[in-house]
Amino acid sequence: MYAQTTQLIQREQVGPGYHLLEFDCPQVAAAAQPGQFVHIRVTGDWDPLLRRPFSVMGTNEAEGSFQVLMRTVGRGTQMLAEAQSGTKFDIMGPLGNGFALPGPEGEVVLVAGGIGVAPLIFLATALREPGGSRYIRGLFGARSADDLCCWLEFSGVCDEFNAITEDGSTGEQGLVTDFLPPQLKRGTGCVYACGPALMLAEVARQCEGAEVPCYVSMEQRMGCGVGACLGCVIPTQADGTQRYQRVCKDGPIFDAEVVDWEAIHRGCTPG
């Protein structure tokens, strides 16, 4: 884990409200594992106060840089979206636990909802590294074609790829979870998912039914990012005991069986 001043070396708009940011940071580039995130301070001042968490989408060890795919939703992302390349940002990372590797058997299915594609691109890239011969299916769902951000990057690291949009503007029409059941039937060894909480809940439900291991990347509003403030918890249950676990430290990747989806349905999501 590092905390240091880095430079935004490139910022590219990759869709309406979507930006690909590249930061110069050899330490994070060398250390980051798929599923981990960075915690970015968007200002040198104290308002907005808190750092903003973003999944690492990829690293370039040779260049010493890493990328983040960002959707503009509020004040902090707006500031990042407007930053000139060359701007310095204070970054902590890599943080969180990262994805558990899949077991030796079966194909891997990656289920991405919107901006949730970012850590899955990183994961697929890693799974394909020399020695990795895993067959990877990517399912990428979003509201419309505009929101299928970086689908080329994603499809490029998958062996099979499906785009799904709610409005049918590109690919298949429907929800990404409508297209998961057939995959689960054909020898899938492990599912990885990242996207809106309700999508993850549905993925988890389907995987549980099909008895396929499933890992999800969770979100929660964050304070410290390192496990100290206990601000970022989600409800979990394991071995019959319910408790609150930290997204920043015990996650952001959770075994889908451990997450207390019912409690999450009752309203524990950030917004």
Binding site: M1, Y2, A3, R41, W46, D47, P48, L49, L50, R51, D90, M92, Q220, R221, M222, G223, C224, G225, V226, G227, A228, C229, L230, G231, C232, V233, I234, P235, Q242, R243, Y244, K249, A263, G267, C268, T269, P270, G271
Partner: protein, 315 residues
């Protein structure tokens, strides 16, 4: 780096701190969370996350949200309980070699007494900080800190139960903070910590619901600093006990406001989340400030803004 001639050490409730910069309860976990990033051994001391008798699950999420130059939290005292604290957290805390001030919270006077007794048996605890001021739990917490009589009663009961230095942590959500400080003194506190957080709230207008599952939360960060400085100022005038000042400290300049208002030491809270190394920077900058101002001992600055004659106005 500054030359060594500035003496930053302060005495507080019988403790000798190498410098006046602590980290505030609940904002630095149990020390280890920041161990990789922060030279914890340089700190004047650590106030731990609140410990309760029994483990507590804490409040449901969302537990935090951002506000102008501040944040709300409603953690709800999630902690593993005093036994796990002693067994699993203290060993690592000890390793830092700095004074460990254990923040304790109870739902009743008896809880505080039991906690004090149990922690008195544990080696290397420098002091207890009685959290009389947590606004995020239904029972106990702030209920004590907003009532002078209860404050005196709980402090007195704990005073009987332990030899450890006692620091009473006061709630700012009161009409007259000085009188609560007096009550803590009368109960036998050796020092006072202030301020805890302001009771506050934000609403998500799209969902037409409170931002936090707990409805209300605790406001911290730079936004509350002027309130905190005022309260330290008032309590310093009324109560002859050393004060640990806190509330929105982000720099040595901020820390000096508290010291000049009458605090003997300061604690950095929310700012740790934003800049983990901030306490070290504040220690360095305090040293620089003293050097440039020709102040040999930082302790000479305690209360320095008092006694400056009031500017006289027109009728």
């Amino acid at each position: 780096m500054a030359a060594p001639q500035v003496d930053l050490s302060v005495e507080l409730a019988g403790l000798s701190l190498v410098n006046p910069v602590l980290v505030a309860s609940g904002t630095f976990g149990y020390g280890t969370e920041y161990g990789e990033l922060v030279d914890v051994g340089r700190l004047g001391g650590i106030c731990t996350k609140a410990v309760t008798l029994q483990p507590r699950a804490g409040n449901p999420p969302p537990r935090i949200c951002e506000t102008p130059a501040g944040m709300l939290n409603a953690i709800g005292l999630q902690n593993p309980g005093v036994e796990v604290f002693i067994g699993e957290k203290m060993p690592a805390l000890r390793e830092f070699g700095v004074p460990i001030i254990v923040n304790v919270a109870g739902e009743s006077v008896a809880d505080y007494v039991s906690l004090a007794e149990r922690l008195s048996d544990c080696a290397d605890i420098a002091a207890l900080e009685l959290n009389l001021s947590c606004p995020n739990v239904k029972r106990g917490g702030m209920q004590f800190g907003i009532d002078g009589e209860l404050t005196e009663r709980v402090v007195a009961a704990v005073r009987e139960a332990t030899e450890l230095p006692l620091i009473a942590k006061l709630s700012p959500n009161v009409t007259d903070i000085a009188s609560i400080g007096e009550a803590a003194r009368d109960g036998g506190a050796d020092a006072l910590s202030l301020i805890n957080t302001l009771l506050a709230m934000s609403i998500d207008i799209d969902r037409r619901q409170p931002m936090l599952a707990n409805v209300t939360g605790a406001l911290s960060g730079p936004a509350i600093r002027p309130v905190a400085v005022r309260m330290v100022w008032e309590v310093a005038q009324a109560v002859d006990l050393p004060i640990i000042g806190m509330g929105g400290i982000t720099s040595a300049a901020d820390a000096l406001q508290f010291i000049m208002a009458g605090a003997t030491a300061v604690a950095v809270g929310t700012a740790n989340f934003v800049e983990p190394g901030i306490s070290g920077r504040i220690i360095d900058d305090l040293e620089d400030f003293c050097q440039q101002a020709g102040v040999a001992c930082a302790a000479d600055l305690i209360g320095a803004a008092h006694g400056s004659s009031d500017v006289e106005g027109l009728q």
